[in-house]
Amino acid sequence: MITLSHAKKLFSTSSGAITALDDVTLTVERGQIFGIIGYSGAGKSTLIRLLNGLERPDSGSVIVGDLDLSVASEAQLARARPKIGMIFQHFNLLWSRTVAGNIAFALEIAGVDKSAIPARVAELIRLVGLEGRGGAYPSQLSGGQKQRVGIARALANRPDVLLCDEATSALDPETTDSILDLLLSINRRFNLTIVLITHEMHVVRRICDVVAVMEAGRIVEQGTVAELQANAKQPVTRRFLRQLTEDAEAQELDEGFDPYAVDIGSGALVRLVASGAGARDLVLADVARRFNLSLDIVHGHLSFTREGASGELYVEVPAKGQELVEVLAWLAERDIAAEIVRRG
């Protein structure tokens, strides 16, 4: 669907030229959701702007569908564009039109029958959760609401290709998820090809088939999320992936867990916080063997790496009195802080 080969783009500034894109080659298959990540200023927006001809490469070619955008005439581009939706980083709404008017605008350009517009607009407004605000002007909207108008506008003409430049960066997780679900379902149903710039790895993980990592105008790594997770070679990729793990490592308690609602019989509910090398071995198994107790993990979370385990667990220890004290002491020796939450 999309093929970039050896695309190069320079911007000349007073302090010399800036290489925004440096020999970028990539292919996006029809129906693929293609993610682009990279540091600020890496060239992501420039890259995506090549894909609808807003920017032309200084050299190299950009083929979308069967049109080479790098040499297409402005008229050819205009014909192709209604089928290439774009969500802008800065929304770019017309202040002079209402929410409904902004969405209708895309339909008008595409030459949609006038009588069909209102129904389609209403549908799109519902889709992005702006019911009741159709008559509001952009100046009366919050940041996220503006972004959703931009999304609705980009989807209005049921495009074949959708270009998203940080399309969900101004949205809360709930709205982000509903938009991503929407994109996924359109992708599945209509075989929509999506190219998506984002800074949020969970967006990538959630919907991208392939992700390209950009740095200083180049694509330095590319693959499925799983591939990258297994084999990331570039520090920049690892840095992005860490976004996923960090949250995990620091996670403490799941929502809705109430230590006072646990039935612990005559034993105790113990909170263990593990960190560091001592916790590396499977200490709980050792406790079980050594004290001949059947420990039961009620709730919690652990991560294991070669450096050791870290995390927090609520464990039901079927012991009391002196025995319980001994278990805790034994754990403490192994870098595990134990605290009795409740006794049975």
Partner: protein, 222 residues
């Protein structure tokens, strides 16, 4: 009472002059608005870096739009005589004044249009291009609506200038308040006529400004 205060003011000629001024301003204003928009859009579009960027055409349009603004009005009228005759059939009177007024004011409004268009947000123009919008869409659905407060305010300025211009149309017997103030007031040294005619001009100007301001504010949804 009024006669005592303004002994030289003749109500019928005052009303006629007021009517003539309004007539010329309204008609020339309407034509100026349309022609100015067209010429302004062309100036903008052919300007450097724009959709139809063309140095030569831009230079030509720019030249053209400046010629008429800088020629003395009476020479403009004489130059336009053949054209006026063709169009209006006469070379005297309010209708005959219209071509010269329009040709004087439209290029001027065109420049204001060009300036207003230049202030339209680049991002929005880019979004329009990205949606496949052509020149028609860009002009009529983006440039004009998005610069509408500036267009309205610019038209207000132009109309008020036109009210001033109509005084000059007096040279071909087009009457109007400015001419009344000049001829009956100034030339005959009747201060009262000058005063009343000028006051009348100010009333018209005030109304134009008031309506213009109101429209400008209504259009502005930013």
């Amino acid at each position: 009472m009024l006669e005592a205060l303004f002994p030289h003011v003749r109500l019928d000629s005052l009303l006629q002059a007021t009517y003539d001024t309004i007539y010329m301003t309204a008609l020339a204003g309407a034509a100026t608005f349309i022609l100015g928009l067209i010429l302004g859009a062309l100036l903008f579009l052919t300007g450097p870096g724009q959709l139809l960027a063309n140095r030569f055409v831009y230079g030509l349009l720019s030249m053209f739009s400046n010629v008429f603004r800088s020629i003395p009005f009476i020479i403009l009228i004489v130059l336009l005589i053949p054209f006026t005759k063709l169009l209006v059939g006469r070379i005297l009177g309010v209708n005959a004044a219209l071509p010269a007024l329009i040709v004087g004011a439209a290029p001027f409004y065109a420049r204001l249009v060009e300036i207003a268009f230049r202030d339209v947000d680049r991002g929005v123009l880019e979004a329009t291009r990205a949606m496949g919008g052509g020149i028609f869409t860009t002009v009529f659905k983006v440039l004009i609506p998005e610069s509408s407060p500036a267009l309205a305010a610019g038209l207000t300025v132009t109309l008020i200038s036109l009210v001033g211009f109509t005084a000059m149309a007096g040279v071909i017997g087009a009457g109007g308040l400015g001419h009344l103030a000049y001829l009956e007031g100034f030339q005959r040294n009747n201060a009262d006529v000058t005063l009343v005619a000028t006051a009348m001009v100010l009333v018209i100007v005030f109304i134009i400004q008031f309506v213009g301001d109101a429209v400008t504010r209504r259009l502005d949804k930013r």
